[in-house]
């Protein structure tokens, strides 16, 4: 009963916030509502007994990614402040978006979801770590992911770095 109530409150908040993110003209407010949406998702994780995942969701998505989005909005004041400028790709975008939504709804409603009847783990941190870092776990994908992120960071530095040689070429 309590869990169902929590789920429906969270679900309404998430969907409402997500719709507002898409439809609001003010980009900063849209970013704030995106944060609300992320927090709602973290709440869903908590009702599913995934407490570690919920904390990481808040730490990464609210604490880091949203902060970067807001920083980008602040940096580009003026141009981005009043929402999404539209161009002639508007109608194709609507069609592609609607098609994707239809496919997703079809996939979610028709597939048979396997529901586990086991009691949820009370301490999820240690089993997660064992799965991620043990020898027959996911250590190789984790390492590959880390290398990929490092390469992305280095690439970002290389792209944004000022080249002292061609200063007059800029602008």
């Amino acid at each position: 009963m309590g869990q169902a109530a929590a789920f429906w409150i969270m679900a309404v908040v998430i969907v409402g916030a997500a719709l507002a993110v898409v439809f609001l003209r003010n980009v900063f407010r849209a970013a704030l509502l995106l944060i609300l949406c992320f927090i709602g998702v973290a709440g869903i994780y908590i009702t599913l007994s995934a407490d570690f995942l919920a904390a990481v969701q808040i730490l990464v998505y609210v604490g880091a990614i949203s902060v970067l989005i807001i920083l980008a909005v602040m940096m580009t004041r003026g141009g981005m402040q009043t929402g999404n400028p539209s161009n002639k790709l508007r109608i194709p975008a609507v069609i592609v978006g609607a098609a994707l939504l239809g496919i997703l709804i079809y996939a979610v409603t028709t597939s048979t979801w396997s529901i586990s009847m086991q009691e949820p783990l009370t301490d999820t941190t240690a089993p997660l770590a064992t799965q991620l870092f043990s020898e027959n776990g996911y250590i190789l994908p984790v390492l590959i992911g880390a290398t990929l992120l490092l390469a992305a960071i280095l690439g970002a530095i290389v792209i944004t770095r000022e080249n002292p040689g061609n200063k007059e070429n800029k602008k």
Partner: protein
Amino acid sequence: MNAVSYAAQAVPADWPGGYWWHWLFYTVVIIVFVLVMVMGAIYIERRGMGRMQLRYGPNRTGPFGLLQPVADALKVLLKENIVPNVADKIVHWLAPVIAFTPVLLIFAVIPFQNGALLTDLNIGILFIVAVSSISTVGVFMAGWGSGNKYSLLGAMRNVAAVVSYEIPMVLAIIGVVIFTGSLSTGAIVDAQDIPFILVQPLGFLIFFIAASAEINRSPFDLMEADSELTAGFHTEYSGMKFAMFYLVEYAEAIAMSAIITTIFLSGWRGPWLPPWLWFIIKTIIVFFVMVWTRATLPRVRIDQLMALAWKFLFPAAVINLFVSAIEVLVWPDISQWIFVGVNIAVAVIAIGVGTKMFKPGWGKVAV
């Protein structure tokens, strides 16, 4: 009472009887604790800093000026609430609330005594890190919603500081977690037969510096540097809403002091005195050290702020993490006193080499 009596009397998990009574009791306790401690902190800061700067500080209201925070609170609550015309009204109104809520949430997992806390989460310390990062959103909202360039600049400096200092801070906590083997705050206190300030001296220093930067304490308070930015993100706030930000500032300082007490100074543990009193004494001592640094050190520049985080704290935190991990993996059973000596030596070397980086001849930092 003898020296070990603290461990004997663990408070049961749902004291005082029942889920909702537990919730109600600790919610009230946390709110009262935060408000009273903030009043005390403001008093300590103003009087203590006055003493350090060879002046009296406020000493007229009540005995020793003890009632000055009360008078200030009343004054600020009665002031007019001004909202700028160009402000984003809703964001401007919500910002203080969103900045304040996470600070209260932090205290949900801080043990005041053995077992005396709102909820002993399995992920306690991670919860603290995650929740305290929401506070930043309130600061942005204040900076953006005010529609003022000084507010915006203050908020942007805050982003830069928080994003940079969160990394060494979390790495310093991981050192503690490695020694404890648990993320729960209760288990962290239980594991501190030797306080972690001795086992993790480098981690403690990194955490203290990063925490000061994260909550805008001087010498890292350049997001509200009065001489450059008027008052930073809360320039356009007045009355009750300004009071909220003032409250957040000191409540965050108290929260960080309480976290440092819990994870580095063995929390409520101590001889003779009752455990909750030990907890409060240690929290006040940590806060006093923060006041002391504020009175001693000049404010850093923004480039120095970034350089300190990325060129000194981050490598030092990684070294601390590696040393701790090797110690726990290779010698899991020997006495922790050996690690105390080794880790103090590591800390001295790391700080010695690190400070060389900030001197003109060595290192690449332009002067």
